[in-house]
């Protein structure tokens, strides 16, 4: 019987581990070397980094990606990057007002003549959408609609680590060569053995594939962390196509792409770190409340369980059972 019990226990572990198998496609994402501060059970967001991340979003991502579930007021609410205890109502916060006013939106309420005007956004307005509708977004991006980023860290396996890997993971120039095919087509060829993440952490890491040629489709960009299938584009052993896939977004972050207001050096990995942290906050602004309430709740339950345990021992002390 004990053997079967062990098998049953092993099967439990295997079944639980099995859920990990369901994921797949891209290379396993890895975060920054020290990890993100908010990942641990008691970890908090780094306010400065979330503020810088908002700047990266505003100056880089927002030209294509909307965040329709967020409003400007969220930035100044408790736990938000621009929260100021002097203004418990974020709509009164002058900094939030100013941040909102940097964006011009189409007023959802018609004016006295029944027409819709453009006006600077107010804290109560949702984040400005870069496109009026999906068709316009697709047309502007070669048919691919840039995903909304409101809950992107919850919508991807690996969360913030995945975003960090993706933003820093595009092949560097040494892996890319250009040639013209016999038919006269212009080809972008990637050598998977030379693909390394441009982030600080992965510099020492090895390549993501064998020696071979990966032909990048026109208007698409290879990234080893993007879930997908590269077999059709790979000239090499078809049993081992390089991990990853193609996406319509070209590499966005280059050193100094933004000039941080707080003087932090804007390296690729710094920007990726900041924007990933900003998006992790945006995906779940109440994360810190959740963790602190959890601590109190569990402490209470453990105390309650102890009380019940001793009551149980006392009540049953005379009963043989």
């Amino acid at each position: 019987m004990s053997i079967l019990r062990i098998i049953a226990a092993g099967a439990t572990a295997a079944a639980l581990a099995g859920s990990a198998f369901a994921a797949g496609g891209g290379a396993h994402p890895h975060g920054p070397a020290e990890g993100f501060p908010f990942e641990s059970p008691l970890g908090k967001f780094e306010k400065d980094s979330v503020q810088r991340g908002y700047q990266v979003y505003k100056e880089v991502c927002a030209s294509c990606h909307g965040m329709k579930l967020l409003s400007y007021r969220n930035l100044g609410e408790k736990g938000g990057p621009f929260y100021d205890p002097e203004y418990p109502n974020a709509n009164d916060n002058p900094l939030v007002k100013a941040l909102a006013a940097e964006n011009e939106i189409l007023d959802p309420v018609p004016n006295e003549f029944g027409e819709y005007d453009f006006r600077p956004a107010r804290p109560s307005d949702p984040f400005r959408s870069p496109y009026a509708n999906d068709a316009m977004a697709a047309t502007a991006n070669g048919g691919a609609i840039p995903p909304d980023l409101s809950v992107i860290t919850k919508a991807r396996h690996g969360g913030a680590n995945y975003l960090y890997s993706l933003m820093t993971g595009y092949p560097s120039q040494e892996a890319i060569s250009y040639e013209t095919s016999p038919e006269g087509e212009f080809l972008t060829v990637i050598d998977p053995s030379l693909v390394r993440s441009s982030g600080i952490y992965a510099e020492g890491a090895g390549g993501h594939g064998d020696v071979g040629r990966l032909i990048q489709p026109l208007g698409q960009y290879y990234n080893p962390y993007m879930p997908g299938d590269t077999t059709a584009q790979y000239e090499g052993d078809p049993r081992h196509p390089p991990k990853g896939g193609f996406l319509a977004m070209p590499p966005q972050l280059t050193d100094g792409r933004v000039t941080y207001l707080d003087g932090t050096e804007a390296t690729v990995s710094q920007m990726a770190y900041d924007v990933a942290q900003f998006l992790a906050w945006a995906g779940e602004p109440k994360q810190q409340n959740r963790k602190s309430l959890g601590l109190a709740t569990i402490a209470y339950l453990v105390f309650f369980a102890l009380l019940l345990w001793f009551s149980y021992k006392r009540i049953w002390r005379k009963v043989e059972h």
Binding site: M1, S2, I3, L4, R5, I7, A8, G10, A11, T12, A14, A15, G18, S19, F21, A22, G24, G25, P41, K68, L69, N74, P147, D148, S150, V151, K154, A155, R156, H157, P227, G236, D237, P238, R239, E284, P285, K286, N289, R290, K291, L293, G294, L295, T297, I298, L301, V302, F304, A305, L308, W309, S311, Y312, I315, W316, V319, E320, H321
Partner: protein, 482 residues
């Protein structure tokens, strides 16, 4: 037990007056205070109380969530996120409700395995077991309907798969499918009726739970020995305070584990794709149900062959429904006179095999059925080309360089190409097929035959005798020869 005499004595004038008109306090007193309960119930028996708490949590959080949720395809997804962001403690309500479903199923599975192990379905408790099976079936339906409501990618495509299955039934399938979806495809009408039914079914569950408790209180609890209560004084203790405190302790421990998930890993049991708004035009790479339905999903996908005129898809649907239906027949399939598997050394082995089988089926449901469990050999490269006589020829290679050399040596008009020849392997679909056979064999072959052939160990004379000297020694005396 219904046979025991009521010990309720109304203390005040009002309760005496009420007791003559509606003896509801007497009912509660006899059911939950002075109810004689076997004194040897172990912690596996606390899951009934835990399940009652789960149902209450789901109904309370669900009712409040329904105040804020908008069941339309345009606003469903955003309204769930609005609950998480703008409703005070909305994130807590929603995470408790979503993880509560998982914990509800975790508890119900333990409760069911406990019933199977201790023979709690046998006379005189068949109706009790049947009502439990109905509750389980309603729970599956409720969970499936509820998973649709966040209107994410898995919600939409999962619902598409399941309603499609019902459409596979002959003749009645399509009309039922259309009726379920409220139209030719999944859309706003589907979401609204799913929401309505998701709100209705938990109250039906609550109704059946009342019957379940009633059916429990007529014969009284089973117990780990499977021997019925003989002398109430010696064999039982009153439910309160003995079991209120023991169940209470177990419930709080269960809640601690639950809280760890709700507060520190609230999304780990879900699927990332469900945070992408539903899009009928984009199908996720892997459509998988929530973890608690994976074993049934594995049985569905294990049937990959036709039998006579019935095609594989329909057979899969039949097998999946049969895997739940067979639970209803368990009281009449098990022929053993002995209830508890403590005294059935052979049946016990098969039981733990069944537990392992169920868990492994869950694993099979989570992965791609074509993935190898045990690879038998290496993948090879296959060069196919047209030879000089115009026939299609192939050549096999291990090394990529050799295959390339072969292609280059062939004339340009031979149309040579390299493809992958998958190595034979023992795949998850094969594992799932074996496990499915075991799943059904356990109920349909092993339980009926074993009961007739197995020689059980001696049961104790009474509950009272079995607990004398502590259950350690009684277990030791019963240690099976291995």
């Amino acid at each position: 037990m219904s046979g025991h005499e009521s010990t309720y004595k109304p203390a005040s004038g009002f309760t005496r007056w009420l007791d003559d008109r509606l003896p509801i306090v007497r009912l509660a007193h006899d059911s939950f205070v002075d109810f004689p309960t076997p004194k040897n119930l172990n912690y596996w028996y606390t899951f009934g109380g835990i399940l009652a708490v789960c149902l209450a949590i789901q109904i309370i959080t669900g009712v409040v969530l329904a105040m804020h949720y908008t069941p339309t395809v345009d606003e469903g997804f955003a309204s769930v996120e609005r609950i998480m962001r703008d409703v005070p403690y909305g994130w807590l309500l929603r995470y408790v409700h979503a993880n509560g479903a998982s914990f509800f199923f975790l508890a119900v599975y333990i409760h069911m395995f406990r019933g199977l192990y201790y023979g709690s379905y046998k006379a005189p408790r068949e109706v009790l077991w049947l009502l439990g099976c109905i509750i389980f079936f309603l729970m599956i339906a409720t969970a499936f309907l509820g998973y649709m409501l966040p209107w994410g990618q898995m919600s939409y495509h999962g619902a598409n798969v399941i309603t499609g299955l019902i459409g596979a039934l002959p003749i009645i399938g399509e009309p039922i499918q259309t009726w379920l979806m409220g139209g030719p495809s999944i859309g706003n009408a589907t979401l609204q009726r799913f929401f309505s039914l998701h709100y209705l079914l938990p109250f039906m569950i609550a109704g059946v739970v009342i019957l379940h408790i009633w059916a429990l209180h007529v014969p009284g609890n089973n117990n780990p020995t499977g021997v019925e209560v003989k002398e109430v004084k010696k064999d039982t203790v009153p439910f309160h305070p003995y079991y209120t405190v023991k169940d209470g302790f177990a419930i709080v421990v269960f809640l601690i584990v639950f809280a760890i998930f709700v507060f520190y890993m609230p999304t780990v049991l879900g699927h990332a794709d469900n945070y992408i708004e539903a899009n009928p035009l984009v199908t996720p790479a892997h459509i998988v149900p929530e973890w608690y339905l994976l074993p049934f999903y594995a049985i569905l996908r294990a049937i990959t062959f036709d039998i006579g005129p019935i095609d594989a898809k329909l057979l899969g649907v039949i097998a999946m429904f049969a895997s739940i239906a067979v639970l209803f027949m368990v009281p009449w399939l098990d022929t053993s006179k002995v209830k508890s598997m403590r005294y059935r050394p052979v049946a016990k082995q098969f039981f733990f095999g069944f537990v392992a089988c169920s868990l492994l089926l869950g694993w099979c449901g989570a992965v791609n059925p074509d993935d190898p469990v045990i690879p038998l050999g290496e993948d090879k490269l296959l060069v196919s080309y047209t030879d000089a006589n115009g026939f299609v020829a192939t050549a096999e290679f291990d090394a990529y360089e050799e295959a390339v050399a072969e292609v280059e040596s062939l004339p340009a008009d031979s149309g040579a190409s390299i493809s992958v020849q998958k190595a034979p392997a023992f795949r998850f679909v094969h594992l799932a097929q074996i496990l499915t056979v075991y799943y059904f064999a356990y109920f349909l072959v092993i339980l009926p035959l074993l009961g007739l052939r197995e020689k059980p160990k001696n049961e104790p004379e009474s509950i009272h005798k079995s607990v004398l000297g502590g259950h350690k020694s009684s277990d030791a005396a019963l240690a099976p020869a291995e």
